[in-house]
Symmetry: C2
Subunit: 135 residues, 2 copies
DNA sequence: TCTCAATATGAGAATGATTGTCAAAACCGT
DNA sequence: ACGGTTTTGACAATCATTCTCATATTGAGA
């Protein structure tokens, strides 16, 4: 039955908790960890269970409404993003993030993979640096 | 004085353990986790402590002789690589890895970052797909 | 070769993010 | 309001990684 038990369903009124997580992400401009989201919501009064934070974030990733990437020490961090394909330019110091696009890169990655006989190609690309304000 | 206490020193005869880890990585063609390295060495008889495996891998990363990246579930995986800058094309199914280069991409990443006022730019790029053998 | 000080090792404990469990709560259509 | 389904949340369980520290190894000099 490939049921969608657990994990917030696609077509269902979002719960208070789901809205809280989503809005918090909208408000913050940089990548945020699940633990931090949980802590911030708690501070803000409207507490949300840690497990629920993880579940909600995961379903948002699946739905494509947030991007996820891993910090150097392996922690997953999330950010509300535009839905079309893009990459991130992240400030190493303050965490400020800019979405960037590079059609040429997409094509390059695809063709290189094809040349080597790979199919079903995807890729990840992140750029890090120190932004003007932090220099 | 910013001593290099702990972590295999740079100019010191490599220990049996360090050699064991290095050779195991040389032999394997794809990215391997620290846990797996530890298990393989144990099977092979010449056991090496888990902490030592982690320490050795870390120092090899610092020395630039192995590349490290994170799997989707956050586990760190290591691979002996050529020392010049390159990226990886990884088979999602069997893990086989091909090193690829793309000068154009490097330039693109650099210039995009500069345009946004970022300095000290670095980037990560990995390509995933299913290789011919696994199709 | 013997000694000493510095460094490396390893077993096990500690850490910390993430996931699993499951009873209670919220929700929906009837 | 009722019954079935979905979601929540407190807490336990996992599991990779790091820390601790006593012991073993090494290298240079006497």
């Amino acid at each position: 039955m490939t049921s969608a038990a657990h994990s917030p369903a696609t077509a269902r009124k979002p719960t208070r908790q789901q809205v809280a997580v989503a809005e918090l992400l909208e408000r913050s401009d940089d990548f945020t960890s699940a633990q931090t989201v949980h802590a911030r919501l708690r501070e803000a009064g409207a507490g949300v269970g840690l497990a629920t934070v993880y579940r909600t974030l995961q379903s948002m990733v699946d739905a494509g409404t947030v991007d996820v990437l891993r910090t150097d020490d392996g922690e997953a961090v999330y950010r509300a993003c535009s839905t079309h394909h893009h990459h991130h330019l992240v400030c190493r110091a303050c965490g400020r993030t800019v979405e960037v696009e590079g059609p040429a890169v997409e094509k390059w990655a695809d063709s290189v993979a094809r040349e080597h006989g790979f199919s079903g190609v995807t890729h990840t690309l992140e750029i890090f640096g120190t932004c003007a304000d932090c220099t």
